[in-house]
Subunit: 319 residues, 2 copies
């Protein structure tokens, strides 16, 4: 950064100025932000990190998108709890030769995401490092936070949003495919949106919820483990979802099975809710059942009626 | 990590189990932590990041110390606001070949610091990255948070804790000096402690405060800029402080001027308070004066009575 640490912080302060959030007594520029805690609600608090060459490559994604994606990924955790984002801090680690303009673009992406979600960036930290690391911590509020642990036997597996599309988008970007039909998938990966309004729908009734960051199989396995139930996905419902949206077409262009993208592809930030009543705008991908001592806690009921184990494999940072 | 992302999170959950904090409704293992906000106090929120090869080198510091230092550096921001730590989230980025034992050691250091400060780690994030990056975000509570911006003409520059000692310790470690007289300095760098009890002393009366993370000159410049006053440091008081503690001796061993370490050496996490009354346990390093249009906002009154400008130079990540 040509402008040095403290001049840059001043510039970021300007950039993050816009946007409103209640109860911010002191924002960027001090040792810490000072907040007036809201009354009658619970606080929901998350942290998420996006690391260069782990989560993104400079040649596939612009800095505005890096900022946007990192903010939305963090906010998605709040949506999955049925919470409303309140305010955010962000820590950014940058190589010494990082351009001022690129940091401005990154911050613009963060700021656009914050404004889109009706929240505000109230502070942060700036350090030097070899790779770009963008960390976002968000405080939210919720009347009835929904954990991973309450799914019950008989609950439907309700999903809001496309699943597998972001993974298809990343694959298309990596292969530098030029086909306008893949735009929806590329957009799903580059510009995910935390599903706050779906979170509001699940919040009052869902028994458990999670967002799809690592793929349906992996994230469903988290609910299953936390809740002490098993999950049966319905192949017919999954394939119908793929065919109804862009996923079927794009998987065909890519030459992959859409089911594999849905089960093991991440970063869609769809929401999974366990509920015994239908949720407006959600689709039903299967059911939670009583736990067995079978080899797999997540299984797929194929169209021929067989039960096939689904490996709880998604994106594991250390596998 | 041999054990993969999710098994590791389970292990960390065990490690962070100990420690108490009020109002934690849901801790590690969900999309987000759920907290019951305290009544009648303000929330104070900070984030800090320690990056391998920027903030520490593996050959100079053990993983327990990395965990401890990173947690204390974040907590120091709360102490400087006169706040009490409430709870924490931590995000850790690790190379793929990082050893399970080393992560356990790092977490042990974080946990020891959390317990020492009476706070609790309630969640986090784990990702792969080329360098180790440890991010800590802390929520604290305060009745009267003290910002950087309230220093007034005539206030004393009151300091709690040694200044320059950590920089001396780092220098000694880098030179691999073997002299037991440097132990106090090495300890100051390796094992800083956030000065919460000094924060409690400044909280009710200080007009402004900051912690010394980048050196006295740089951090004092932040108060001066935010408050619209100038600062005059008293060389005699600084040299007396150096002579009274270990700094004088150690600076002599290192062959450096203790004044330079005090002004431009960081990571001591001493507290600076602007106050018009003496603060118990603090020493007075000078005074805030009316702003002039002089070339430097921070000056040193030398023992001969001259005013010498002090460059606001400390650790700037991008200079």
């Amino acid at each position: 950064l040509r402008s040095g640490e403290f001049a840059t912080i001043e510039r970021l302060k300007e950039q993050f100025h816009e946007g409103r959030a209640a109860g911010i007594l002191l924002g960027i520029g001090d040792d810490a932000a000072v907040l007036e805690p809201p009354l009658g609600v619970k606080l929901v608090w998350t942290i998420d990190e996006q690391v260069e060459r782990t989560h993104f490559r400079r040649d596939l994604v612009g800095w505005v998108d890096v900022g946007w994606r990192s903010f939305m990924a963090a906010a998605s955790d709040l949506a999955a709890m049925g919470a409303e984002p309140w305010c955010a801090l962000t820590a950014v680690s940058l190589p010494a030769d990082f351009e001022d303009e690129d940091l401005d673009a990154l911050a613009r992406g963060q700021q656009a995401a914050a404004v889109k979600l009706g929240t505000k960036i109230v502070g942060g930290n700036l350090t030097r490092g070899e790779a770009v690391v963008v960390t976002t911590t968000l405080l939210g509020t919720a009347v009835r936070p929904v954990a991973r642990s309450g799914a019950r036997e008989g609950d439907g597996i309700w999903i809001a949003g496309p699943v597998g599309l972001a993974a298809a988008g990343l694959m298309a970007l990596e292969r530098a495919l030029l086909d306008e039909r893949i735009d929806a998938a590329a957009e799903a990966w580059l510009r995910p949106v935390a599903r706050l309004s779906d979170g509001r729908i699940l919040a009052p009734v869902a028994h458990a919820a999670i967002d799809v960051s690592d793929g349906l199989a992996q994230d469903l396995a988290h609910i299953v483990e936390a809740s002490g139930v098993d999950a049966v996905l319905d192949e017919g419902a999954l394939r119908e979802h793929a065919a109804a949206g862009w996923l079927g077409t794009i998987a065909e262009i890519l030459g992959v099975d859409p089911l594999s993208l849905m089960l093991h592809g991440g970063e869609d930030y769809a929401l999974i809710a366990a509920s015994d009543v239908p949720l407006d705008g959600f689709w039903c991908a299967g059911h939670f059942v009583a736990a067995t001592n079978g080899p797999s806690r997540v299984t797929l009921r194929t169209r021929s009626g067989d039960l096939r184990p689904v490996e709880a494999r998604g994106f594991d940072h250390f596998r």
